[in-house]
Subunit: 226 residues, 2 copies
């Protein structure tokens, strides 16, 4: 089979990071060679799915939404509890939905690779980062490298995983978004842990986002829009 290695698939969550990655991919591979995938895994904030769809539309990129009903079943011991308290790597207590599952990014990227395989796409792009708050073990560079090798062996095809934000701080991610002309799209993103739009401005995610924009000396289009 002739693999068009120039095509790229972006894992688009509707957040600031994956939106920046979408524009990175457009810059790197060309708009006509980029598509996006969003996972409907029962996330508490359904607004994320709408944001992803609208961001892709705004960027002129296809967006496929794939369901994953497994996470909710895996978390099913606490079916009556909507939330479980989890400490995020900054030490702050964060409420994560029961659909948070260890190794979730491994699943997202493997399903993305399966979609890429079927559509002869040779590149995946994901917004995972080692820096700042998102220090989950499945976001680390060596995990992604191991996963890329596993997918290559398991599907017998080279599918490269790009992580343009891996070593960027939030400030640097904002600067990259500006440089890539992604600021209009940034006004369509969703970050708030409390699922509010306009964002609550109080939760850890809102605070981190605000800090990144402040340090980059850029106004957040999401707040300007408000």
């Amino acid at each position: 089979m002739n693999v068009a290695v120039e095509k790229a698939l972006v894992v688009l969550s509707g957040g600031q990071d994956s939106t920046t990655c979408l524009y990175w991919a457009i810059d790197r591979f060309g708009r006509e060679n980029v598509s996006s995938v969003t996972f409907d895994y029962g996330q508490r904030h359904r607004i994320e799915l709408d944001c992803a769809r609208r961001i892709a539309e705004h960027a002129g990129i296809d967006n496929v939404c794939l369901p994953i009903d497994t996470f909710a079943a895996l978390g099913g011991d606490a079916l009556t509890d909507d939330l479980i308290a989890v400490s995020d790597p900054t030490g702050a207590e964060t409420n994560l939905p029961v659909t948070f599952v260890a190794g979730r990014n491994l699943i997202f990227l493997t399903f993305a690779a399966a979609h890429a395989y079927r559509h002869d796409i040779g590149h995946l792009v994901t917004g995972v980062a080692q820096t700042d708050y998102s220090g989950y073990p499945d976001c680390r560079e060596e995990t992604i490298a191991a996963l890329q090798k596993t997918i290559g062996l398991g599907m017998d095809r080279k599918i490269e995983i790009h992580t343009p934000l891996m070593h960027r701080s939030k400030k640097e991610t904002v600067e990259l978004a500006v440089q890539l002309g992604a600021m209009d799209a940034m006004g369509l993103t969703h970050t708030c842990y409390n699922g509010m739009q306009p964002p609550c401005g109080q939760c850890a995610a809102c605070e981190l986002r605000a800090k990144g924009f402040a340090e980059a000396g850029v106004a957040d289009p999401l707040l300007v829009a408000k």
Copy 2:
């Protein structure tokens, strides 16, 4: 967290191989330390799920059934076609459902690992084999080794993947099942590609199974029961 590394989770499909693995795990880890997981991914033959449940019950082992609705969506280009023709590694044309997805075993094992993580289980057992017909790239030893490394990094926990059948022929698998006292359970398994019980005896899967039993000089309890 204190990890009970002596507990094992068997990926149980309801077929001959995973059933043999269940008894291998019972022998190795002790019945009280073994549980099983079965995936309901929209397989054409729903009888597999019943078989898995009944085999686990027969063996006195817990069985959790986890849904995965993603494969059907990934195969969604051919929603109107129930089947796609795929050549299996023996060169024979086999009808696989559209839910067949590249790297499917990577997904099964990663979800199994997520379940294991949550329940402090340190060992996974799967019936994948390099030998005979099941030579899919995601069943190969080096793929499984890469996946084990990826899961270890991505979940920040050592979860060992055991593949007792990796280098066994069908004949040797039958011999192992006899040795482990798994023959009664073997009468509850399901192999037939055509979803028939009693098995059709004509399809590639039935033929391969028959060959294994014949070479081992053992009567297939499934056919005796018929």
